[in-house]
């Protein structure tokens, strides 16, 4: 066996030391009636050579985004990843260690998490960040639970149709067994109207969850939304795009109480949806309600600066059913990737990447709607994503034709928004080129023209 070092001789010697006749005897605690009297019905073992062949064959049956032109978005994006991100994350000392319970044996991980927390607070303008959660959707749901606890209002939360549908689905699942009603404000114009939010929020509302830029790529009027939430004593939770903070105002600067994000854009590969990175940052006064790990600075016995997991009395292994959450791990390696990514990009790299996204997306939107064959579905300003409306019934034709040209042209919205059946969500990142955008423009003309 490739990963079992003991030889038959070792096993014999070990059994003798134990005082057992056989390995089977060691399983004496498992009642005979429950012992499997056959082998598991699984495919036979493969050596590494065969495994490589097999997995490569499976991989070859897929088309990687990099083997096509990817305009897909919706919370997962084909962004640039500096080589050093993979290099650092591939260090055994990081990826084969575990949650840093033993601080003396884990200062590397703890320091990196502390730097991650610092990066996220600076990026968002929030006071504190935890050491990461599973994904953006989970972070949003956890933030809502925090808000319910912090406000003592458990009856009602308000969100918007312009929030990622999967985030809303996850939130609905989390709330299904609690006595909390989730109210969704419609966004027929592509963004949330502050007066409609104002009408939806009442004195029983724990929080308002919005996304900015939203699922359609549109900017929300976040300052007005914050005012509407705060006027009724509700907290504002904003799901942001970390890349957008290269150009956009920070959640902490426009009144967010809790800021959450899908952190995939910060150096995590597409990886068919995961593992990704849930970012959660909040104002100081909510820190003891935060879910998940936190790295904190302290000193050791000799006064040396060092880091430990801290405020653990919030957590399940101490508080059990009274914990702030059941979360036990974070996404440590993805948080490390984000830290290396942000360190490599720096203020100017992140700003450039964001500007490129914005400018290329705007160019693409202009180019693709220029002939009048497609139109922008919503008037609000957009960052790197936007929604295009195609002539009735032509979405599939357009996407099929694009697929034939190895262009992943966008996501049809009908499965989430029946009223947007003729609409496609498109993302343009800094990796897309003018030539790719122009080629798509040609294709639109040839298919719909």
């Amino acid at each position: 066996m490739p990963y079992i070092p003991n030889t038959d001789d070792d096993r014999r010697a070990m059994l003798e030391a134990i005082g057992a006749e056989s390995i089977d005897e060691l399983f004496e605690m498992v009642p005979r009636e429950f012992r499997l009297d056959r082998l598991l019905d699984l495919p036979a073992a493969l050596g590494e050579l065969e495994l490589q062949d097999h997995i490569r064959q499976l991989a070859d049956r897929n088309t990687a985004a990099s083997a096509a032109t990817c305009f897909l978005g919706g919370g997962s994006y084909d962004h640039f990843i500096p080589s050093i991100v993979d290099f650092v994350a591939a260090r055994s000392e990081f990826y084969t260690s575990y949650t840093p319970y033993q601080a003396e044996a884990s200062q590397g991980t703890l320091t990196a998490l502390f730097e991650y927390q610092t990066m996220i607070t600076r990026l968002t303008g929030m006071d504190v960040s935890n050491a990461s959660l599973y994904d953006g959707a989970g972070a949003a749901a956890e933030a809502v639970l925090m808000a319910i606890g912090a406000t003592g209002r458990s009856k009602r939360v308000v969100t918007a149709a312009s929030v990622h549908p999967e985030y809303r689905q996850v939130l609905a699942t989390y709330l299904a067994n609690l006595d909390t009603q989730m109210h969704i404000v419609g966004t027929p114009g592509g963004a949330l109207a502050p007066e409609e939010l104002d009408a939806a929020v009442d004195e029983q509302t724990a929080c308002v969850l919005v996304q900015h830029p939203n699922f359609f790529g549109c900017l929300e009027e976040v300052e007005a939304l914050a005012a509407a939430a705060h006027a009724k004593g509700a907290l504002l939770i904003v799901a942001f795009d970390p890349l957008s903070l290269g150009v956009l105002k920070r959640p902490g600067d426009y009144g967010a109480d809790i800021a959450v994000a899908e952190g995939q854009a910060l150096g995590c590969p597409l990886s068919y949806g995961g593992p990704y990175l849930g970012i959660l940052a909040c104002r100081e006064k909510f820190v003891r309600r935060m879910p998940g790990r936190l790295a904190g600075q302290t000193v050791d016995r000799r006064g040396r600066r060092c880091w430990v997991l801290t405020l653990q009395t919030r957590e399940q292994h101490i508080r059990r059913e009274k914990a702030t959450s059941n979360i036990c791990t974070n996404q440590g390696l993805m948080a490390l990737r984000a830290t290396v990514y942000l360190a490599a990009m720096g203020p100017h790299g992140l700003r450039s990447a964001a500007e490129l996204c914005l400018k290329k997306a705007r160019y693409a939107a202009d180019r693709w709607t220029a002939g009048g064959l497609l139109e922008a579905a919503f008037p609000a300003p957009t960052f790197k994503e936007f929604v295009l409306r195609a002539p009735r019934g032509s979405v599939d034709e357009l996407l099929d034709a694009a697929a034939g040209e190895r262009i992943m042209a966008g996501s049809p919205l009908e499965c989430w928004y029946p009223e947007l059946a003729d609409c496609v969500l498109v993302a343009v990142t800094e990796k897309r080129t003018k030539a790719e955008i122009d080629r798509m423009a040609e294709l639109i003309r040839s298919v719909l023209g």
Binding site: I18, F34, L36, S76, Q107, T298, L333
Partner: protein, 486 residues
């Protein structure tokens, strides 16, 4: 060897003008940012991040990495965490562009290989569990627990049963009660017997028409397989409840016994433990769940379905609890799981369990004379030793022993868990360690218990830091770096 170059945080190393990345010039005609977006939405300056060069960043993180112990570098017998070797082939294969480079919203015809892999994984995990249906969506073990409890709640609601209590043994992981609370259940603790098994009398007294679920970890956190499991499952089922198996300790019974066969209605797997992870410094993991047929309609959507030769995502699940995570799940972790299962096959998986149990029993036999193991001379994949006697006689605690082990180059066992053993040291060697390593660990322990108490109180002596002040960390609550004031 202490490298002081690594001592400064990235922020303190920042120097204006340093760059690690140069982004390309914009190749499309574009107006200035200020004319593309409303001024009120724009930041007035670039993000507040450090300015560094690439060598700065690499040296910083490489030096940080050297301050970690890791499975690749050290024996890491962290009980309950199954810190086994992480195969390099799995890392390499999961990174193939044809797997790691797939966008979650790609059309199904462009991801047939991935869906085939995930479909096969669903089937393999169902077979290992002895249960009918599998969801790969949960992102971690605790997330899997919560998802399964959501499934149980939906099933109970749908079948008109008003049951709101989850029973949990006192030795359980803290995630169990926390997950139950998140699913809206009340929790009641069930006592353990002196032998470390479920107290059937206490269980019987607490089972009633309010019982929704009994959560059991079997083998349990003492490393014992509760031989009463058949009776327990019968009792829970007779009262109308469901049995949940916390699969944290599946490494002990792979191919030996199947939870579905011993009465579990639902369970989660911890692929980062049982199927060789890696653990990533605290994630990412994954938490697939397997359930009995009657619970299958409530699983999260989507599942991977096979229609003829074509694989699809099946969203058409009207009774589903919905989603617990965006996109498909922690797919990269699941690809590694698939590689692990295909490497081992049925005989190999059984051998994993056999050797994990052999290693644990051997280590127990070598440790028990210097550190008593209160729950017997035999165990499954792990055992819990106690430093209680050492503490009473010489004032040396479990923590002292754990910290001193670091000086000997071993990661510490899990300490002070489970809560039902005083001065607990929970030791799980896993099958990927050899006899020689176990011998040297046992010898280190034997030496340590004889060492001067003062030396142990001050351990570790060889690491860069020693006994961080956790009380101060909590009181000061310094959770981010701030520039020193001038």
């Amino acid at each position: 060897m202490r490298n002081e170059q690594a001592a400064d945080l990235l922020f303190a190393q920042s120097r204006p003008g340093c760059r690690a990345v140069r982004m390309p010039e914009c190749d499309v005609p574009a107006e200035a940012v200020e004319s593309l977006l409303p001024r009120s939405a724009l930041a007035d300056r670039p993000p507040d991040l450090p300015e560094l060069t690439e060598p700065d960043v690499v040296r910083h993180f490489v030096n940080l990495s050297t301050q970690n112990m890791s499975v690749d570098g050290n024996f890491y017998p962290l009980g309950s965490c199954t810190m086994k070797y992480n195969p390099k082939r799995n890392e390499a294969l999961a990174s193939l562009e044809g797997l790691a480079g797939l966008h979650p919203y790609q059309r199904s015809e462009t991801i047939q290989g991935m869906l085939a892999l995930l479909h096969s994984l669903q089937e393999m995990l169902g077979e290992i569990a002895g249960l009918d249906a599998v969801s790969l969506q949960p992102a971690a073990g605790a997330h899997g627990e919560m998802t399964a409890l959501f499934v149980a709640a939906a099933f109970l609601r749908d079948t008109g049963q008003n049951r709101d209590v989850v029973l949990i043994p006192d030795g359980a992981h803290g995630t169990n009660p926390a997950s139950a609370a998140m699913a809206g259940f009340r929790t009641l603790e069930v006592k353990s017997t002196a032998a470390g098994l479920v107290d059937l009398g206490d269980l019987a007294a607490k089972l009633d028409e309010r019982t929704a679920v009994f959560m059991i970890t079997n083998p349990n956190t003492l490393g014992l397989f509760d031989r009463q499991i058949g009776e327990i499952a019968e009792m829970v089922h007779a009262s109308g409840g469901l049995v949940y198996l916390d699969g944290a300790n599946m490494n002990a019974i792979l191919g030996i016994a199947r939870p579905g066969d011993f009465g579990a209605d639902m369970m989660h797997f911890n692929p980062h433990k049982t199927f060789s992870g890696p653990h990533g410094g605290g994630g990412p993991g994954a938490g697939p769940i397997a359930v009995a047929g009657k619970l299958a309609p409530y699983l999260p959507a989507p599942l991977v379905a096979k229609r003829g030769d074509h694989y699809t995502l099946d969203f058409d699940r009207p009774k589903s609890i919905g989603r617990v995570r965006s996109f498909f799940g922690n797919t990269g972790v699941l690809v590694r799981t698939y590689c692990y299962l295909r490497t081992h096959g049925p005989e190999g998986l059984r051998r994993v369990a056999e050797n994990a149990v052999l290693n644990a029993n051997y280590l127990l036999s070598r440790v028990k004379d210097c550190l008593p193991v209160p729950h017997g001379d035999r165990c499954m994949h792990e055992f819990v030793a106690s430093a209680q006697k050492l503490k009473a006689e010489r004032g040396v605690t479990a923590m002292d022993v754990a910290k001193r082990l670091l000086d000997y180059g071993f990661h510490a066992p899990t300490v002070y868990f489970p809560l039902i053993v005083r001065e607990a040291l929970m030791i799980e060697p896993t099958e990927t360690e050899g006899k020689a390593t176990l011998d040297s660990f046992a010898e280190a322990l034997q030496r340590i218990v004889a060492e001067d108490a003062g030396l142990l109180h001050d351990a570790p002596h060889t690491t860069a830091v020693c006994r961080p002040d956790e009380v101060r960390a909590a009181r000061q609550s310094i959770l981010k770096w701030t520039a020193p004031s001038m």
